[in-house]
Symmetry: C2
Subunit: 191 residues, 2 copies
DNA sequence: GATTTACACTAGCGCTTGCTTGGTTGACCC
DNA sequence: GGGTCAACCAAGCAAGCGCTAGTGTAAATC
């Protein structure tokens, strides 16, 4: 058994698993279905992952890690104004929804299927991502760009953004940049 | 078999099923677990519901129907200003999250486990609810209370509100009314 | 040339699943 | 006091589940 590495092979299998988890849901996806999608037999699957749970954890870890990297990069590239940073975060968030949609949908819907150890590990990753948001929102509050309760504003914004996976159509007329712009315009009170 | 009625007994069983579906998720909740929670044997369950799917549909229908009734009542009770109506809708939404929390969480997370016929039927109910929101948002746009794209504003607001089931603690210091007030303040641009 | 490693295979164990069947119970009704 | 009916039960079926054991093999490493 070859568990817990991050070979390119395992990454590819993880990506395929994510797709099936979205289509069927974690519980309804059997190891036999996963194996068939991957072009191997069900027994061979356990060479790459300790058990079915670990596949779920791998999918979510991959997506969250990418989101974190992209958000950090976006913040480094933009100017220092609170508005530019808000917009950069929103756009980055929506862009990962495009490139890593499957993983994010899984993270959203199947989070509770993780066993406690995996959940603990992954929630640290997620906290790191949310901390970026809170930092940006704090700056916007301090600048008077937005008003209200720090905690509530952060949750409302993350809610609006996360909800986009339910309706956003990447093939439609609106770009992630359009959406980010519209969201920021909605919550900012310009002077 | 006694399927498709709406006896008080069935309503009570539906309520108990909702609780289990939230705790365990639909797929992991077995008919034996449901029966035990209800104080009957697993076979008896199929006297009240045609199959497991129908229990899920009943849970979601119940919650959505209640939300619709409450929202309509709230709109009738408040004055005609766009701001008052926005706030009434938001408060009503958050209040159903308190009283019917289980059903709404199930609707959110297990919607995709519905078979196509049930999904079709229930999406009409949900559309009726969302239509109320769009009406109120249109009025607010027309009054200049909020700005932006009609479609996007509606989705962002619903996202922020629906997301509250992930973090809102009814036992905490904030009332649904506080939240509704804060949300409306966030998105309105007063003159 | 021998050994190890990575990856795949077949076969199947022990258990759980949603649901069916055939029958019993007790309250109510004319 | 026979008939009706919702509500329930015990038992079990066929199918499917996650996972293990043991084996084969080509490439990499010594």
């Amino acid at each position: 058994m070859n568990v817990m590495n991050d070979s390119p092979r395992r990454k590819e299998l993880t990506r395929q698993a994510a797709q099936l988890f979205v289509q069927e849901g974690f519980d309804r996806t059997t190891v036999r279905m996963l194996a068939q999608e991957m072009g191997i037999k069900s027994g061979s699957l356990f060479h790459h992952f300790r058990d079915k749970q670990e596949i779920l954890a791998a999918v979510i870890e991959e997506g969250t890690q990418n989101a974190l990297v992209i958000a950090k990069a976006a913040l480094e590239e933009c100017d220092n104004s609170a508005e530019a940073r808000l917009q950069a975060m929103a756009r980055a968030h929506l862009e990962t929804l495009l490139t890593d949609r499957n993983a994010h949908v899984v993270a959203l819907y199947e989070w509770r299927r993780l066993d406690p150890e995996a959940r603990d590990h992954l929630s640290h990753l997620r906290d790191a991502y949310e901390a970026l948001w809170e930092e940006v929102i704090d700056a916007a509050l301090a600048e008077g760009l937005i008003h209200g309760d720090r905690f509530l504003v952060a949750r409302f914004v993350m809610g609006a953004l996360n909800w986009t996976v339910r309706w956003y159509d990447p093939a439609g007329p609106r770009s992630p940049d359009d959406l980010a712009h519209e969201l920021v315009a909605m919550i900012t009170h310009r002077v």
